[in-house]
Amino acid sequence: MSTLPAPRVTFRGRLALRRTARTPWRSYLIGRLVGVVLLTVLLVVVTFLIVHLVPGDPARNVVGINGSAEQVAQVRQELGLTQPLDLQFIHYVGHLLQGDLGTSLVTSQPVSVMIGQRLPVTAELSSLALMIVVIVGFPIGIVIGALMRRGRAKWAGSVFTVGASLGGAMPEYITGTILIFVVSLSLHLLPVQGGTSLSEITLPAEAVAFAPTAIFARLVRNETASVLNQEYITTALSKRLPSWRLYATHVLPNVVTSTLTLGGLLLVALLGGTVITENVFNIPGLGTEIVQAILQSDYPSVQGIILVLGALAIVITLAVDIVLGLVDPRTLNGRG
């Protein structure tokens, strides 16, 4: 029917199209990886320096004021402080590469073994908290955003805004205390402390997740509202789709992409919340251990835990960036 011949795409042109579709990924990934390497180097240097930045003699801190000069000398030897600084750093990095994080000054146990026992607990607690945040926060945010579409249901919006700001301002240790308070008052018994089974970490996970859930729900609400105001939603409305379909195919994907960036930051923040909350419920994870290690000047343990927590934060940030690139290809052309 068309009288004009359709412009032909040559083989080379098609290749070029494909190439432009591929290259952003490479430069994006390279950009991310450079950042990861820099962060890791920074992390290793900082953890190495923890012992060296201690004012006075770190070995003296370890043995206490009453320790003898021989004991101090022995600890100095154990910490490797007798060698020149550059050599110490080379040794530190060399040991790290072999998975050797040193030996605890308190328990004489390898730090890597201690972390191997405690990291799963911390990871379990923060993953459970993340699940709660997403499973509870996302639907609430979407529903409120949809209810308030272009200025409707203002009351729901006001109630939600107040609730979310109050909830978002609750630190996890207070939420945890309130949960313990309520459980101990209503059941007249203390919630089981120090357990690591799923049922025992549910209450702590709720404490970790509470404020982030409120913040996340508010974020999703805002994103939903802004997506619903986009012109492509008018296009979608003109298709007269059933509303579940409108939301599932036209609103949800866009909300997910725009939520991911901040959701990733939230995940990193959850890690910090977990560290504190473990201390509320006496959970044997990295959070309780690092507090003990700091109080006892157990420098190798402190260094190991800081290193692991920092590495987790780096890995999470990288994972979020990669998922973001996969879900929303426009990110690739952005700040890559």
Partner: protein, 645 residues
């Protein structure tokens, strides 16, 4: 802070949350000053009742050593508040210095510095704080330094972003040109503009500081016993929770309240300083059609129209009678479209032309039943492709999606950016047409080929941002064509495109109209586009149709309304002997939508206006049997000269 905020002349309403937050903070400051003096003795005196329950003497009970918990909580206000304030000062001060230095430093330092701050922000502050407490051993000094330094990168980034945006503004560039030294530039131009946002940041920072600091004290890494702040008190209370559960209430509430108050102050300041905040409340009132004048004019207009065209019969795709649209903002509904009547026959191309704000798009969106919820509308009759959709209260039938295709103005924002082009084009066919996804894809590829998109199979799997603007608009037209609609509404389909692409898209629309017999409602502010494509032309002004004429009359200059004449006179001629004639721009502006109009809405810009024009709104009336126009003065085709006058 409260006195400062309230004593200011109330140019803008001070948000209640700001007042409440500031009052709580002021109370806390007062407690921090007098607390240790008044309750200091009570807090340290050992009682006889240990771990006592709440009583009138000890409202929150006593701790394990028999000390009054309420008194201890009140006394702890001072260390808690002072420590948080110091930590905030370190974080804000450090962040300010770091962020501003990076902006003022050379380009290379700036790039590296910004990247570094971005990296530092990726570490959770609590981990940084733990590392710092490990170095300096737990104490109140080390915890203040730790929290201060842990939050510094965040403040540095915020300052950096703010300062960067300010330093790119014109007055700073001018300062650079005048040879101002960087420090002076910072002090005179950048800092004053940072003050507001920084105040907001400081209060938000204080909220985070008090909460994180108490958290570190709570886990035992902050204030060391026998000294105490709220965090240590809370942890002691938690240890005694099976003996005296009320003990945790005091310190817990104190931390929460202070954190919340600081947050409220931040939010309130943000609202107060944001110039975009609404001044008053928008009140909603039901739509009232109290203005009898235009209503009367309209019924006559409608009568004139029905005399002009055939009565509503089968060959009519769109029939609108007396369409009115008003906005709900403001105390009374603001009329935006004032009684539009219009008919589109099968296969006809009708143009709506007028300046922006004349109500063209609203009219089209009302016909498509896609008006945004903030608008009220009514129509005596609204028939689209055989469906009666004139009741604003009922949902339009799904059939409308297949009967009508819509081409929106900006193709870059009308495709969902997160989805491939293909599924978006096939959606209506799959959902309403019952086509399988393969059949729908094939149909879509066929349509894409028809609108002359190169390698359509490839496009189906591309994202909208991978297509050029012209290609997106053609894809949009292909999407509108998918269900072989009876009507296509094209709202400024060429405005967002290059001139060369514009012509192609117009040619495409014309061809589709020729080959498929699809009726077309074309909206444009460009009378040239309209006259190139349309069979009939509706000229809109200030929410009304002021003239309706055939395109032949338009081509021959047989127009009857001074506004149409002025539109024609403002178009550059591209050929013919008139090419060197000067263009005549139309002076003035159309009336603001919502201002009450008595008389003819065009009167203030009309070169022919007479006395009666400003008193009586003219009806649409038949002229010469050619078309209709709403003008008191004209009775025949207008000469060029009247526009010049």
């Amino acid at each position: 802070m409260a006195s400062n905020a309230t004593s200011k002349p109330a140019r803008r309403r001070i948000p209640a949350i700001l007042v409440i937050g500031a009052m709580i903070l002021a109370l806390m400051a007062l407690l921090a000053i007098v607390g240790p003096m008044v309750w200091g003795a009570g807090a340290s005196s050992l009682g006889t009742v240990m771990g006592g329950k709440a009583s009138s003497a000890h409202p929150l009970g006593t701790d394990a050593l028999g000390r009054d918990v309420l008194a201890r909580t009140l006394v702890a206000t001072r260390p808690s508040i002072v420590m948080a304030a110091l930590a905030t000062a370190i974080a804000v001060g450090g962040g300010l210095v770091l962020g501003a230095t990076i902006v003022l430093a050379g380009r290379r330092v700036r790039a590296v510095g910004e990247r570094l701050i971005d990296l530092l922000v990726a570490y959770p502050p609590i981990i940084v704080a733990l590392a710092i407490t490990a170095i300096f051993r737990p104490s109140e000094t080390s915890v203040v330094i730790a929290i201060g330094l842990a939050f510094t990168p965040q403040f540095a980034r915020l300052t950096n972003t703010l300062a960067a945006s300010i330093s790119e503004r014109d007055y700073v560039t001018v300062g650079h040109l005048l040879g101002l030294r960087p420090l002076r530039l910072l002090r005179r131009h950048i800092l004053p503009n940072l003050a507001g946002p920084l105040l907001v940041l400081t209060s938000v920072g204080f909220a985070s500081a008090i909460i994180t600091l108490s958290g570190l004290s709570f886990i035992g890494l902050g204030v060391q016993q026998p000294q105490f702040d709220w965090g240590t008190l809370l942890s002691l209370g938690l240890q005694d929770i099976n003996v005296n559960p009320v003990e945790v209430v005091g310190p817990g509430l104190a931390i929460l309240l202070t954190g919340l108050a600081a947050g409220l102050v931040g939010d309130g300041l943000n609202h107060y300083l944001d110039p975009r905040q609404p001044v008053g409340r928008v009140r909603r009132r039901p739509y009232e059609s109290s203005d009898a004048g235009p209503a009367a004019a309209n019924s006559t207009g409608a009568a004139a129209l029905s005399r002009l065209g055939a009565p509503v019969v089968d060959d009519v795709v769109v029939a609108v009678q007396d369409l009115r649209i008003s906005s709900l903002s403001g105390s009374v509904g603001v009329p935006l479209v004032r009684g539009v009547s219009l008919e589109i026959k099968r296969g006809e191309v009708v143009g709506l032309v007028g300046e922006s704000g004349s109500g063209k798009t609203l009219t089209a969106m009302a016909i498509a039943r896609l008006l945004p919820p903030g608008l009220m509308w009514s129509a005596c009759s609204l028939q689209v492709a055989g469906s009666d959709v004139s009741d604003p209260g009922t949902r339009p039938p799904k059939k409308l999606a297949t009967d009508m295709g819509i081409v929106f103005q900006d193709p870059s924002s009308c495709f969902n950016p997160a989805r491939h082009i293909g599924p978006q084009i096939t959606e209506v066919a799959r959902v309403h047409g019952g086509l399988g996804s393969r059949a729908a894809s094939e149909a879509a590829i066929e349509r894409l080929r028809e609108v002359q998109i190169s390698s359509p199979e490839l496009r189906m799997h591309q994202y909208p941002h991978e297509l050029s603007g012209g290609m997106r608009q053609r894809a949009m037209i292909a999407m509108a064509l998918m269900s072989s609609p009876e009507l296509i509404v094209a709202d400024e389909p060429t405005t967002a495109l290059d001139v060369t692409v514009q012509a192609e898209v117009l040619r495409l629309l014309r061809r589709l109209n020729d080959t498929h017999g699809t009726a077309l409602l074309l909206i444009s502010h460009d009378i040239k586009v309209i006259s190139a494509l349309c069979d009939r032309v509706c000229v809109m002004y200030a929410g009304r149709i002021v003239e309706l004429l055939s395109v032949e009359d338009l081509h021959h200059g047989r127009v009857y309304h001074p506004y149409t004449k002025a539109l024609l006179a403002a178009v550059p001629k591209t050929a013919g002997e008139n090419r060197n004639e000067p263009l005549i721009p139309l002076p003035g502006r159309p009336p603001q939508p919502g201002t009450p109009i008595t008389g003819c809405s065009f009167v203030s810009r009309c070169p022919m206006a007479e006395e009666r024009c400003s008193i009586l709104d003219p009806h649409l009336r038949d002229i010469d049997g050619h078309g209709v126009a709403a003008c008191h003065v004209t009775t025949g085709p207008l000469e060029d000269s009247i526009v010049r006058g």
